[in-house]
């Protein structure tokens, strides 16, 4: 059971990659990429977890309480922001592709026009 979060992360990474590879719709490609990225959340949070640890907010808990690692949580926050920005940019590019090529199938984007 101890390995379950990391196994789930590896599975998310590979299944997201499969989504990217097998995609026939660019929006699906982009969403699959977010599945790949969500595996990093699991790894980061899994690494920083301490058994029985509390959330690193010391407002209402005893000062000697065991806390989970806050550093990886901040990294996950950064990760989420980056994912949101990448998602927005990629979706804007999908709209561009649709206007240029009239299709959102990655297979139709092979030819560069002018």
């Amino acid at each position: 059971m101890n390995f379950a979060p990391f196994a789930a992360a590896a599975w998310l990474f590979v299944i997201g990659l499969y989504g990217v590879v097998s995609s026939q719709h660019l929006v699906r490609t982009v969403l699959s990429l977010t599945v790949v990225q969500s595996s990093t959340y699991l790894v980061l949070l899994g690494v920083g977890y301490r058994l029985g640890g509390k959330a690193p907010i010391v407002a209402d808990i005893p000062t000697k309480a065991k806390l989970v690692d806050p550093v990886v949580q901040v990294l996950v926050l950064t990760d989420v922001v980056i994912e949101a920005t990448v998602l927005a940019l990629l979706l804007a590019l999908v709209i561009q592709a649709h206007k240029r090529f009239g299709s959102v199938d990655p297979a139709d984007l092979r030819l560069l026009r002018n």
């Binding site: 690193p56 690692d69 806050p70 926050l77 920005t85």
Partner: protein
């Protein structure tokens, strides 16, 4: 490369990648058995020396304040990129836009129940967003989370009424100004550190009492600045995409 070839290649490489990932991750310390020293030090330093009780926010706006500056500019650059990509297209279709009336563009498929509920949600979302931004250093929250919640408030106007009502409440110039002002404010707070504490982004404000609203030095200010930027950035992105939808629907008419 056709889809068939791609899938075939993945069938060869995918399981191998999964195996390598699993072996690699197996080398990590067991789940729940973490011994990183840095986090433990932070757990002591931030509540003690900065009087912050939310250590995640404290890390974000104090120890990793410089990284947050970069993160903010990434968000800023990406929103500029989205606006650049989509507005170029809008110019292309300007004739279409001017020829049709945009008086009644409602969110398709919104039932009356959804409209009423959204109306109730707007003040709640905005006040929750403001609360999260102000209490970033005390309880779970902080600028980034607050910005997203704040941005969801005006978005509920779209669900409750018309898209144009959203545009009237949150016109593009205001969103752009909020986005830019938030990013600038954060950089200027850092400059304050340079002037008054000799180090960029170092805390230079009184720390106050732990647990009070005005405590933890410059963290509440940073939190507000980031909240403003994120709210502006998200709303601007959504507006750009919704504008595209408006264009596409009208072309199909």
């Amino acid at each position: 490369m056709s889809r068939r070839v791609r899938l075939l290649l993945f069938a060869c490489g995918g399981p191998g990648l999964l195996a390598v990932l699993l072996i690699g991750l197996h080398g990590l310390p067991a789940f729940g058995d973490f011994h990183g020293a840095y986090g433990l030090v932070v757990d002591h330093v931030e509540p003690g020396q900065r009087r912050a009780t939310d250590i995640v926010t404290a890390l974000n706006f104090d120890l990793r304040a410089f990284d947050t500056l970069g993160e903010e500019f990434i968000l800023f650059a990406s929103v500029s990129g989205v606006a650049l990509l989509l507005r170029h297209l809008r110019d292309e279709d300007e004739e279409v836009e001017s020829s049709r009336s945009v008086a009644d563009h409602r969110f398709a498929g919104a039932s009356d129940a959804l409209r009423v509920l959204s109306l109730v949600l707007i003040p709640l979302l905005v006040s929750l967003g403001v609360y999260l931004a102000l209490h970033g250093a005390l309880t779970p929250g902080g600028g980034f989370q607050a910005g997203v919640v704040l941005a969801a408030g005006p978005l509920a106007i779209l669900l409750a009424g018309r898209y144009l009502a959203l545009k009237r409440v949150a016109p593009e110039w205001m969103l752009e100004a909020g986005d830019a002002a938030g990013a600038t404010a954060y950089a200027l707070i850092g400059l304050g550190g340079l002037i008054f504490a000799a180090v960029y982004l170092k805390n230079f404000l009184p720390l106050g009492t732990s647990g009070h609203l005005l405590s933890a030095g410059m963290m509440p200010l940073n939190s507000i600045a980031v909240g403003l930027e994120v709210a502006g950035a998200f709303l601007l992105t959504w507006t750009e995409f919704l504008d595209q939808d408006l264009l596409v629907t009208r072309e199909e008419l």
